[in-house]
Structures are given as C-alpha cells and as structure tokens.
C-alpha cells in the first residue's frame, strides 16, 4: 500500500555557529490515506521542519520521505497536495479571487472548471464578499481563510496544514473544524500541526507527538490517552 506520507529514518541537520544542530533525529512516520493526523509537539520540536521536508523546501541530511508514493524531491508529488503554511503571507497585490485563480492555474486546471471552483471555495471560506478586494487589506483571519482556500483549489488528496487555526477567532476555528471533517468525509488525508489540543482531540483519527526531533508517541487518541487524563496532560507527560 502507498502511504499518504511515508518517512523513514529522517535526519535533518542545520549548520549553526559552532557546529550542527539536529532538528530531526531519525524520524519514522506513516500516515494512511483517509486519515486525519494531528502532528503535535512543543515549539522547536521539528514539526515545521518535517512539513518543509515533505514539500521540498529543505533537503534531508539522510533518510527518505515519500508523499502518495512519490519522492518529495520532484514537483510530481506536489500535484496532489495542498499546503497551508504557518504564516500564510501571500501576494498582497492580488485580490483573493486572483490568488485562487493563480493557484489553480499552476495546477494547470481548465479555465471554466477553475472559475467555478474558485467561486465554490470563496463561499466555503466565507470570502465571497471580499473576493475582489486586494489581499493587502485583508485581516489576519481573512489571510488564513484565503490561505486555506488556495490549498484546496485543486481538490488535493493530501492536505498539509501548519497551524491552521492560528489567527482565527472561535467561529473561525469551528469553520476549520467543519472543513477538516468535510475533507475526511470525502476520503482525503489531512496532516496538520497544532498547539490547540482540544481541536486536535475533536478532529483527529491519529496523533503523533514529536519532541526534540523524535516521534515519542503515536496512535489513536483513545488508545493513547488514559481514561482519567486529558490529551493535554498526556502531551505534557510525553514531552517532559
């Protein structure tokens, strides 16, 4: 079976003054198709580094990473992937509609289908009214929404979200949760990092906890967390 994400013995080192710093230390991680996987860890644990490896922003020092059966080094793997960065800074000179159109065009979507998809997505993320305004005037929450929409424009099989609820008010978080549930219902794989443990508990099938570049715990929430403790307590126990 091709895993949606398949990482084996991944090591990433960065040069730092006086030597090298190991950001990922022999990471092994597998995410099955159709799973909603919550990737947890304290700041600096290596979550974003892992995502950056998967998207080809960084090359690994050693080890392998595959997305949907394809090596992450080439652009082919990214054809079926949607990504929302932690800080969804985007082209501020474009309007929301233009940004989604650009994203769709880079996936070589046919124009008519793209036009329809852009309207659907703008409605889905609640930006229909602001669609023709420059992104430069968008609020933080609106930026996050348009970032989410651009990640979904080509209806990807795997969606990688780095802190998708940051910048959202409680209503926005409910929208993100609903959106992830909708993706799951359609058989899509969602891999996301978050510090919002309550959100993770609500939407994830599986969680993985990363600490100091190593996966210290992995499994379903029910299997990992004891009946008398919360996910937050379990998380603190694992990373301490």
């Amino acid at each position: 079976m091709d895993y949606a994400i398949d990482i084996s013995n991944l090591v990433v080192e960065f040069p730092v003054p006086g030597g090298r710093m190991r950001a990922l230390d022999g990471l092994n991680l597998r995410v099955c198709p159709g799973q909603v996987y919550g990737f947890l860890g304290p700041n600096g644990a290596g979550k974003t580094t892992t995502m950056h490896i998967l998207l080809g922003f960084i090359t690994a020092t050693s080890g392998t990473a595959r997305l949907l059966g394809e090596a992450v080094s080439g652009p082919i793997a990214r054809q079926r992937i949607g990504y929302l960065p932690e800080h969804p800074d985007t082209y501020r000179f474009l309007t929301g509609r233009e940004l989604l159109t650009l994203a769709g065009r880079l996936f070589l979507m046919p124009r008519a289908a793209l036009r329809q998809r852009v309207d659907e997505l703008l409605a889905l993320v609640g930006l229909t009214q602001a669609a023709d305004r420059r992104i430069g005037v968008y609020s933080r929450g609106m930026l996050q929404r348009i970032g989410l929409a651009q990640a979904l424009v080509h209806d990807p099989d795997l969606v990688i979200l780095d802190e998708p609820t940051s910048g959202f008010d409680p209503l926005g978080r409910i929208d993100v949760r609903t959106l992830i549930a909708g993706l799951k219902a359609r058989g899509k794989t969602v891999f996301f990092s978050s510090h919002e443990l309550s959100e993770v508990e609500r939407v994830c099938d599986h969680i993985g906890i990363l600490a100091k570049g190593k996966l210290v715990s992995e499994g379903t929430v029910d299997a990992l967390v004891k009946a008398d403790e919360s996910l937050e307590q379990y998380f603190l126990r694992m990373v301490s």
Partner: protein, 264 residues
C-alpha cells in the same frame, strides 16, 4: 520544466509591475525631459535634433537599466522575505520554472517599457523633423532588448543568494563596470605587466561586452544599419551569456533551503 507554468509566473511579474506603477513613473519622467529639451533651441535646429536624440537615448538606456535591475533583483528575495515562496513551491512548480518565469517576466516588462521609451523618442524626433532610420531603429531595439535580457539574468542570478539591496548594488556595479570600463581595458593592458595584465585580460574576456549592444551613435547620426551577419553574431553572443547566467541562477537556487519557522 513546464512552459505553461513559466508563462503563468511571468504574467505574475507583469501584474505586479503594472500595479507598482514604476514603469509609468519612468515613462512620465522621460516624456518630461524630452518636452523640456524640445522647448529649448540653443544650438540651432540641426544640432538641437542630434543633441535631443542623444540625450533621449541616454535617458532611455538609463531608465531601462534601472527598471531591469530593480525589477529582476527584487523578484526572488521578495518571495523569500514575504514567505510567498512557500505557497509557490508547494505547487507542482520546479525551481527552474520559478527562475525562468521570473526572468521572462522581468525581461518582457522591461522590453515593453523600453519600446515605449523609444516610441516617445521617435515621435519627438519626428516632430523635430529628424526621424530615426527605421532599419537602424529596429536593430537598435533588438540589441537593446538582448542587453536587457542579460541584465535581468545577472540580476536574477545575484538575487538567488543575496537580499534585494545587495543583489541590486552588485548588479549595478558589475554591469556598469562592464559597460563603461571594459571597452577601455585594452588600453590599460598595454601599460601593465605580469599578473595585473593577466587579471585585466581575464576580466576583459569573462565579463559581457555591453558596448556591442549599443547602437545609439548610429541612431543619432543616421548611420546605416549593421550587417545582418554581424547582428546575428552579436545576438548569438548575447544568447550564450543569458543562458550562462540563467544556469548559474538555477544552480544557486535549486538546493537552497527555506527554513522560516523550522527549528533552526
């Protein structure tokens, strides 16, 4: 590499440049200078026309030079500093597509702006009853466009590893030195010996010879166009240089690590 994606990225550069309005400012400045020149008639009609053409062409060169370097050197650093590179490279776009798309976009924007500068100048020259010879004008534009392609390729190359300010400064220094100093190097070589002589010779052959692309004097003094064989050779020389710098840009950028937010 994918030609369609390269064109999409080039269109983005166009949209951005048009919305930043740099081109309009330069065009207005050029028109203003020419209008001011037209209102003066200090040297008599014939001399004035030549003086106006020479000044106008120099301004067109300077403005296109500024536009080419400023536009090309800011493309990649801004993608990186604003974080948009993460959105871009998460799409099925190769780094070669990005380098070529950015270069094509900046070059084509600069060429269209330059054609507009020449058009304004040609109209003013016509009004002064001293029009440019069309074949020479076409050749001059063709060579000027090739020169702009080299400038933008150098700018893109420097900007793959440097921030905007450093890349722009270095591109200005290198290209202006190549344009203004390089043609005089053979004279210096005659007065030096040993390593100094070798160093100068190396610079002379390694740096691009921008003076080959400069037909301003022919335009000003209504000289005949150059031979087509010579034109072809210069264009071939330009193409080789453009390819060389674009390959350097791709080599410098293809393995660059983007680590914002990563645990570094």
């Amino acid at each position: 590499m994918n030609a369609q994606r390269i064109l999409i990225l080039a269109q983005q550069v166009w949209l951005e440049t048009l919305r930043r309005k740099d081109v309009y400012v330069l065009l207005i400045l050029l028109t203003g200078f020419l209008a001011a020149l037209m209102s003066v008639n200090a040297f008599g009609l014939g001399q004035m026309a030549a003086y106006m053409k020479e000044t106008g062409l120099l301004l067109a060169w300077i403005f296109s030079w500024i536009l080419a370097i400023n536009t090309s050197t800011r493309q990649i650093p801004r993608e990186e500093s604003q974080g948009t590179v993460y959105l871009l490279l998460a799409k099925p776009v190769s780094r070669a597509d990005v380098v070529l798309g950015k270069w094509l976009g900046t070059w084509s924007v600069t060429v269209v702006a330059t054609v507009s500068f020449y058009a304004v100048l040609a109209v003013v020259a016509l009004l002064r009853q001293s029009p440019f010879g069309l074949p020479t004008l076409v050749q001059a534009l063709l060579l000027h466009s090739t020169l702009l392609a080299i400038l933008t390729a150098i700018g893109i190359w420097f900007s793959t590893r440097l921030n905007y300010d450093a890349a722009a400064t270095l591109t200005y220094v290198l290209t202006l030195a190549a344009w203004l100093v390089l043609p005089r190097v053979p004279t210096f070589v005659l007065n030096t010996t040993g390593f100094q002589q070798w160093g100068l010779m190396l610079c002379y052959y390694a740096l691009p010879h921008f003076e080959l692309f400069d037909m301003r004097r022919r335009l000003v003094y209504d000289a005949a166009p150059i031979l087509l064989a010579d034109l072809g050779l210069i264009l071939l020389y330009g193409t080789v240089i453009i390819a060389f710098f674009l390959i350097l840009a791709w080599l410098a950028w293809r393995r660059k690590r983007f680590v914002r937010g990563a645990a570094v």
